[in-house]
Every structure is written in C-alpha cells, then in structure tokens.
Symmetry: C2
Subunit: 473 residues, 2 copies
C-alpha cells in the first residue's frame, strides 16, 4: 500500500502495485467474458431504502450530503437519502428490475467496482475496496445447474491468478435446506439462531458454541452435539456426503422420514449435484463443507466460501450463493446465484505476502533519448513512429547527459534506450538502440525494429525483485 496513506481503510496503490491490481482485473474480465458473462457498471449510489433492505451490512453505510444541504439532511429519513453501495448485489437487483424489459434472461453479468463500508476505522479493515462479482439472474425461474457452474467460473478465474502468487483455491459449499432440514429434524426451531452460533466456530471453538446453542437456541446438550457434528462433516463428493449424513442421522436418531428430513435430503441432493458436477470438470475444486454457515440466513439454496491453500487465515476470499428473491417486481421474482471476490484483499495478499510486482513501473518499452532541445522534435517523431507500430515509447524529459537519461529509463524499468542518429556519438549516421540491462547497443531502424517479445511485456512477476530500481523502491 502506498506509504503515508492518510485515511485508514482507504487503500491506494503505488504505480507498480497498481499494475498488479490492473492485471488481476483484466484477467478476471477476460475469464468472465470467455464464459459469456456480460459486463455492467452501476452508479456508486443507491437510495437509502434499498441499502437498508439487506440485513447483514445495513449498518455500514456511507450516506451522502450535498455540502449545502448538510444541516437540513439530518431531518431527512435515511430511506429518502442516497448512500454509497456496500456491495454489488443491491445495485444488481435494482438494475435488473429497472431494465427487465431490455435484458435477456437468464442475465449473466460480471461487475468489478469499488464498494464502500461505513465502518469505524479498524486495523486491517478496508472501508473502500474493489469487488469482482458474477451473477446469473433468472426471470421467474433459474435452472439449478448454474449453482454448479458459477463456482467453477470463479475457480477457473482464480486459477488464472496463480502466476501472480495466488495459492490454489477451493470452494467450500453448503446448502441452506440441508442445514435447516437437519436442525428441524433434530427438533430445533430457531434455525437462524443455530446458524448464527455455528458461524462462530472458528472464532470461539466448539465448547463455547455448544454452550451458546443451549443458552440461546433452546438446544439440549445432545442437540448441540448433533449440530456440531454436522458442522464437522466435509466430503469431496456426493457419495461421501451421503454416507456421512446418513451416519449422522443414525447417530442422532433422525428417522429417514418426515418433512424436515425430506428438506435436508433435498439440500443434500442439490449439494451432491454441485460437488459431483464440479468434480467432473475440475476435480477437487469444490467440496462439501457443512461448517459453512455464513450467509445461510440470507441465501435460500447453495452457499459458497472459498479458501486459499496455506492462506486460510485470510478467510473466505470469494463468497456467494443462491437467492431465490434477489429481486422482485410485483409478483415477479428474479432468483439469482452469484459469487463475489474481495479483490482488494486478494491484491493486498499478492503484493505483500506473495511478492507479486510489476516487471517494470512504466508501460514504455523504449525511451528515446534527446541530444538537445532543438532535436526534441526528431526524438518525438521517432517515438510516434514506434507507437504507430504498437511499441510503447517515452521520450527523455530533458536533454541531460546521457547517463542521466539512461538512469531515468532504468528507474522506470524501461528496458531500451533509443539514440537518434544525427548525434550518435560513435558516428555512422544511423539510429542505435541500447539494451540497458545487458549494455549491448546495435543499429536500429525505426520502421522495423522490435523489442524482444518477452522483455517488451509489462508483466506481473513473483519472487525476486527485478534488477532495476524504481519498481519496488
């Protein structure tokens, strides 16, 4: 992160760090497009009434006031004010309803934008960050196969980020109906309550969660134990999931009949379809993990969290699920399934833990030297010729000593310096190009010269910093 950033929670990257973020964004765009997702961008603000609808984050809103209206706005109900969006789901549902007549359904869209959380400043929490979302929204109904396919799109996108230092990602999936049916079959009725306590497992441990389940959700010791056992169940495939679930039911005396058990089996079938369907395309990319409770109070079907191998401490880097009432318009329902990557946190990990960095800070491949200010026009013409052939070129800011011009290129990581002909010191009357890493220098023709194709690319690399300074400076 840029040093001296004066606002906690509002990350800002140095130019060489921004190269990494930009490449991540471009890579995601490419993968989403390859999968037929349509890119949209929504306005940054929503009506307060929309922002207040969604439960979880409704308290973390930045409201806007025009400078002139600050005093008067205090009396305006929040519903009638505007605020910054805190996710890309609220905007999507509004956008879909507003434009339903002009969209093709199922509407597959990607969206990469900043979101804002009106939180108190806290170490390690971003108040402004970039999210990268994909969702499929149906008009009336939405086929369940998207619940298998969307996490796979995210897995393939995250796979493409491995060269930027990202470890292997695994999607952990659960299903609302499985958990709810199981709790109900146990005789528990406060499903939201149980989910809320189970969600605390990683933070406070099993014993404390067992205590809370009894204290706040009316669970017996045995019921609490049964809930914890469910949370311990993970399986790489449908068969393992079924076997584990059946064993649990037997152990905790849940008979294979009744409405609640049926609900659980429906959820189980759906989850098995997701895991097995994913395994056919990318084995090991999606596993069943019944500890996943976050979002189950909101989502109505599949729910996903994504963890990075060896970086589990980061928490879930890509979450989502299926929501049968993403948007509504009169009697019309728009069910959706989607996932969201917390992109800024991912980029921060790549930069600061994985050592990702730009191969150079400037996009220019070549710096055209300037022997004297009167010769600047000639240098500019050379640069323009190169640009017209797609070769990014900068021109020396001043007609300083050669060493200083080379140093300028070096600090920006620009690999070549072009010496215009008429003043080339060793004569010959032709332009020359110096590779400033190897120091080799050779005649060059502006109409045909090409940089080495590997050197030409401004890329993201991990591991050792490149030899030039100015990149990690």
């Amino acid at each position: 992160m840029a040093h001296g950033a004066s606002l906690s929670g509002f990350p800002e990257w140095l130019p060489e760090e921004r190269v990494v973020e930009q490449r991540v964004i471009d890579t995601l765009r490419e993968v989403f497009g390859l999968n037929g997702f349509i890119g949209i961008e929504t306005r940054a603000v929503e009506q307060g009434s929309s922002l207040l609808k969604k439960g979880e984050t409704s308290k973390e809103i930045y409201l806007l006031s025009r400078l002139q209206d600050v005093a008067g706005d205090v009396d305006v109900p929040v519903e009638n004010r505007i605020g910054l969006h805190f996710d890309l789901t609220v905007p999507l549902s509004r956008y879909v309803v507003e434009n339903s007549g002009r969209l093709v359904f199922p509407f597959k869209r990607w969206q990469i934008q900043k979101v804002w959380r009106g939180e108190r400043p806290q170490e390690g929490r971003f108040r402004e960050f970039v999210q990268a979302d994909i969702d499929v929204v149906g008009n009336g109904d939405l086929p369940s196969h998207y619940e298998t396919e969307l996490p796979l799109v995210m897995v393939s996108a995250l796979e493409r980020l491995r060269p930027f230092g990202l470890p292997k990602a695994t999607v952990h999936a659960n299903n609302r109906r499985l958990s709810e049916g199981y709790y109900r079959a146990l005789g528990l009725t406060d499903v939201e309550g149980v989910l809320r306590e189970i969600d605390k497992l990683d933070k406070i441990g099993a014993d404390e969660v067992a205590r809370l389940l009894q204290q706040t959700c009316g669970a017996s010791q045995a019921q609490a134990r049964a809930c914890l056992d469910l949370a311990d169940l993970t399986a790489p495939d449908g068969a393992g999931l079924r076997a584990g679930f059946d064993a649990l039911c037997q152990r905790h005396g849940i008979a294979p009949d009744g409405e609640a058990h049926e609900m659980a089996v429906e959820g189980l079938d759906a989850l098995a379809a997701v895991v097995d369907g994913a395994a056919r395309i990318r084995p090991g990319s999606v596993i069943a993990d019944l500890r996943i409770a976050r979002g189950l109070d909101y989502y109505t079907g599949s729910v996903y969290e994504t963890f990075l191998e060896g970086a589990e401490g980061l928490g879930s880097i890509c979450s989502g699920g299926r929501y049968d009432n993403l948007a509504t318009q009169g009697n019309r329902r728009y069910p959706g399934v989607g996932l969201s990557i917390g992109l800024s946190r991912l980029v921060s990990y790549m930069l600061h833990t994985a050592g990702a960095h730009a191969s150079r800070v400037s996009p220019a491949v070549v710096l055209v030297a300037v022997w004297s200010e009167s010769g600047r026009a000639a240098s500019n013409a050379i640069a323009d010729d190169l640009r017209s052939r797609g070769i990014a070129a900068d021109v020396s800011p001043t007609a300083a000593k050669l060493g200083r011009q080379i140093r300028y290129a070096d600090r920006l990581g620009i690999p070549y310096v072009w010496f215009p002909a008429d003043a080339t010191q060793d004569g010959g009357g032709h332009d020359e190009v110096r590779d400033i890493v190897s120091g080799t220098q050779a005649p060059a023709d502006v109409t045909s010269w090409r940089p080495d194709t590997v050197v030409a690319r401004q890329t993201v690399v991990t591991g050792d910093a490149p030899a030039t300074d100015g990149v990690n400076g």
Copy 2:
C-alpha cells in the same frame, strides 16, 4: 442511458451501451500507455480540507456520513470530514505529495475514474461521471515541451475514437500570460474580473460583455473593445498569432515595451511554441484561440479546451492547462500540466447522437446447445475446450426446443450455435456449427474450429443497427 434510471444525474448504461464505454476506456488506456503514461487509481474520497482548496467547484461536494454518525457530523467542520472527489486533480496532487519519495519525476500518469458533483439535479447535468485524465508532474520544475506534447496525446487518443462516431477534435489553446500581459498593457488591473467576463462571450454576446467590462472591471469603452478584439483572435500557427497580436497592439496603442507587454510576449512565445510544435506532428490539431478564458484564473501557463467539429454545442470535451503549483510540500513545488476528458458526456454523445453500438451484447462467440439436461456436462465440456483456445462460449440455459435455443443466441447477438454430436438431428456422429445469420451449418471439431475473425470480435459500430435484436432493444 438505461431507461427508468431512478436517480437524475447518475447515468447508467445498458449492457450493449456499456460495451461502448468499456471500449472507449480501453482505447484511452492503450493510447496513454503507448505514450509512456503510468496508470494509477486513487481512493474516491478526500479530506474536506483538500476539497475546499480548489476554487471553481468547491461548492459542489458530496460529504460522507457514516449512518451512525449522521446527527453528530453536523457539528464537524467540513475541513475535518471526508467527501467524494469532484475531479482527479485534487487526488493527484495529494498522491504526489504523499508518495513523492517513491515516484519517478517527471511523473506521467493517466487516471480514469468516476467523479461526483454535489449539484442540484438539473436536466443534462451529470452528478456522477467518468473522467479520463493525463498529467505530467514535475518535482521543482517541469520542462515546457510537455505543454505541446500533452494536448497531442489527447488528440491522438480522440482520433482513435473516430470509429466510435466521434467527430474530429481540435484543441483550442491560450496562455494566461498573454491575456494578462495584454490586459495590463491596456491599463486594466482587474485581470480575474476581465477573464470572468470574457468567459461569458458565448453565452451573452459581445455587447453585453463590453457593458460588464465597463461596469465591473473599470474598463473604458476603448479598453472593453480591445479586450473583445483579443478574444476574436484565432490563428493556426505562430506566425499568424504574432501578426494578429502585433496588429491588435498597434490598433489599441500598446507600445512594444514595458513589463506588461513583455509578459504578453512571453505568453505569445509559449503559445506559438505549442501551436507550431503540435503542427509539426499533427497539423491542424491545436490552434491558438484567445477567446479561451475559462481556467485562466487557475492555470498559470497554457490552457486548453477541445471542441468537436459539428458538435460545438457540446462545449469543451477535454480541458486543462499548466499549473505551476499543482502541489506543494513545504518549499517544494510540483508544477503540472494536464488535460481531462469528460468521458461520460462523450460516451453519451457517441451512443445517442453518433449511433455507436455494440456489434453484439454478449461477449460469447458461440452458444453450445443442450439436447437434454443429462447431456449438459458434454455441452459444458465443449464450451470449456473452446474457452481454453480463447473462444468465448456460452451454454444454453435450458434444453429447450432448438428454435428457442437459437433465439436465445440471436437475442444476445451470439453469431454461432454449436450442436454437440450425439444428438445432431441429421446424424453423422459429429459436432456441427451453425452460423445463425447465414443459416449455413457445417461439421466442426472442438479442437480446431475457429470463428470467422471479423465475426468473432465484439466491436463497436456506428450507423445501421446489426440484424440481431437484443442489441439496441
């Protein structure tokens, strides 16, 4: 603009319109990169104290309040609050100062981001829009050749947007010292006042401006006339500019001596260098236009406005100038020169006046059909194979009748439909691909098939809408 957009001044594009905006942004990025500009992105918010510094727009700020702090924030001085940036210049100057030790100067940066203006809702005014800026910032000093080169970068960028329906752009340049020196040589001292009135020329006409110059700036009738004469001076080159200026001085009795005349000539020389330097690279792209007064109260050297041929009513679509105190840090000055494109207004023009539209709404080139839900995995595998070769592919949402699947592709503008082998209706046991515009259908191999290279590209076109619906729907 998306119909039914519920917030006036917050434009939002339909998917097929967003394709145009995205291509415009990508094109600008490419041109800026080719010219060696470094991309950065700054946070959306700035301290109130920073936002209040710059004169012109300081009253059009959106301040932020956390939902919980709304009541208390009323008593917090604006300086200590945070607000959304209203341009990309205030953030740049802060960024440069905060990171000065980690940047290479002169720092050439591009930045394309949303900005917000806390205005009252007004027809045709955006309160949220995208700006595309380039600036060069020096540390201590900044060579004047950038005043010639930066408008040329913008001209070449705008030139690249011609295929999207943009008319030819011409930069109109002026210089603060020329105008100020001339007014002072006439004996006028309220330079800011004169500039303010001259800026109203297009709105209220010469007679009214003459009246105001006399009424508010202490000008005599002759002095007012002399100011209007200067504003009438345009020239395509330095020689014409000099001749016109000398004639004006003679006509209005300004002797070629004295400090004020010297200042004017300094400005004249600088402006002539800009116009002649630009003409050497792109003849006719930059002209001297002494009517340009906006921003002269802020900029300290060159000032630019850019007009589109036949769309002058749009006003300036790209403005900027040189500012010797873009940022300061103690005794250290950071002079800058830059230009800013009002991108949203430009995209709006392309869409609604020039008829630019996406060649198709979906990025997918091919839709893989699904004969039955049990065969979906096979269709998914075909799509994945195509994607691995860089061919964007979608898979039919349902195993509906063939006609309905083709119609889905058609509505999204997807030009090819892939029929997996095992159910191809005319037998043969091989996959087939149908070109849904021509209706031709031919066997295809998933490992080698390629779409027509022209059809494959999702592009922006102008003029007649493409044959598929769903694009301008």
